[in-house]
């Protein structure tokens, strides 16, 4: 792998890891607060899985840089500032209501699933192996969020109204998931990652069909603002202060 591709792949892995970490943290905020006990358990598990996946991606990025895995992951999670994070704004938005949380998770899971299926064929073997592993776990997430999208979309007048409102709010942010990362074309040419445009087309087709089936309409007038991964809302700063507070109080602490 040439140095340019290597750096691009590291950057790509960090976008994936940051998305999973921040979404995992948002999901963990339901712990003790979910509308029913089963969902409290479900979202605690989904949070645990997503944060676990983030660690896998950080570790692959560490390997490419010859860094020690655990120290690198700890640094990336606890000691970076807002401007260094490369997650999409989609995942940093506050958890909102149950419809918002569920729909965001569904949109993310569907994208993640389709991307992992492709990444399982990555020409970088460690990437392909991790994607193959994580894909089997994501099956459970997608099954869960699909079922809930159906239940809420076709449920009561109120659940439908909340889901449609959530979709209207989330849509421009969700589209940003599909935006190609830094030098993505170079990575696609090398067979490291799937083609961003093809993935976006496939994802759009899938979510449009499924959401239509559950009574939800994709907003047509949503501003297609280019939401860059280098710009964040004020919500990320608040999230990080929560996530990083203890680690920064005593950086040398051993757990």
């Amino acid at each position: 792998m040439n140095p340019e591709s290597k750096q691009a792949l590291i950057d790509y892995l960090i976008t994936m890891a940051d998305d999973e970490l921040i979404l995992g943290h948002r999901n963990s905020e339901w712990c003790g607060h979910a509308p029913i006990l089963e969902e409290d358990i479900a979202f605690a598990n989904i949070a645990l899985d997503e944060i676990g996946h983030a660690i896998v991606w950080y570790e692959l990025a560490a390997d490419l840089q010859g860094e020690e895995r655990e120290a690198y992951a700890n640094h990336m999670v606890y000691f970076r500032d807002v401007r260094d994070y490369r997650n999409t704004q989609l995942v940093e938005l506050p958890k909102g209501d149950w419809a918002f949380t569920m729909l965001r998770q569904y949109l993310f899971d569907q994208f993640e699933m389709m991307r992992l299926e492709k990444l399982a064929q990555s020409s970088y073997a460690p990437f392909a192996e991790a994607a193959t592993k994580i894909r089997t776990e994501e099956i459970y997430h997608l099954r869960h969020t699909q079922a809930w999208a159906r239940r809420l979309g076709l449920g009561t007048e109120e659940s439908h109204r909340r889901m449609q409102a959530a979709l209207n709010d989330l849509w421009p942010y969700a589209l940003a998931l599909c935006e190609p990362s830094n030098r993505a074309e170079l990575l696609t040419q090398g067979g490291y990652i799937p083609d961003s445009r093809a993935l976006k087309t496939a994802w759009l087709e899938q979510v449009t069909a499924y959401l239509g089936e559950v009574g939800l309409a994709i907003p047509t007038d949503s501003s297609n603002l280019p939401l860059s991964r280098t710009h964040h809302t004020e919500h990320l700063g608040q999230l990080l202060s929560d996530l990083q507070q203890v680690a920064r109080l005593d950086p040398m602490a051993k757990w």
């Binding site: 089963e38 479900a42 899985d49 676990g52 192996e129 592993k133 776990e137």
Partner: protein, 161 residues
């Protein structure tokens, strides 16, 4: 002979229990993949059931401690995703122990994780298949929750993976 030593280590690892399911060993669960001796170092390769499994740290510590007591001071543990852990690897002996523990073993899927098939789980208490899924998630990453309509008890199943 080297192979006797390797054999001894495998036997020792078969006494190290899964931290979340203390009735089965890491070997029976298919988590220990390889034992290699390189000069004075013992290299153990393990594969996590779930990539984010929070018990992984405990497993590593337990393995090192067990081998230390056997006199192996220099133990290195590597993790691999190749091939990814499959619940099909859980041995027959472990499946029986899981059932006794009240945890339904995962159905054998031969690599085909067909979602619909999982809807049928066998109750570990009464053996009935008149069961229904209550939650795809449970008290640990690797379990889900069912209800048995025959003996009216909730139970957990190890997730097919």
């Amino acid at each position: 002979m080297i192979s006797d030593v390797v054999q001894e280590i495998w036997q020792a690892l078969d006494e190290v229990k899964d931290p979340e399911i203390p009735v089965v060993s890491l070997v029976e669960m298919g988590i220990v993949r390889d034992v290699v001796i390189d000069k004075s170092q013992v290299i153990i390769t393990i594969t996590p059931t779930f990539s984010g499994c929070p018990a992984l740290h405990a497993m590593k510590t337990d393995i090192v401690q067990r081998l230390n007591t056997l006199g192996y001071a220099n133990v290195e543990i590597q993790t691999t995703f190749t091939p990814a852990w499959s619940s099909d690897w859980i041995s027959e002996s472990a499946r029986a122990k899981l059932r006794e523990f009240g945890l339904a073993p995962p159905p054998i899927h031969h690599g085909d994780l067909n979602v619909m098939l999982w809807e049928v789980a066998t109750c570990p208490y009464c053996g009935s298949t008149k069961t229904s899924i209550r939650n795809s998630f449970g008290p640990t990453a690797c379990r889900m929750i069912y209800y048995c309509n025959a003996c009216n008890q909730p139970f957990e199943q190890f997730k097919p993976l």
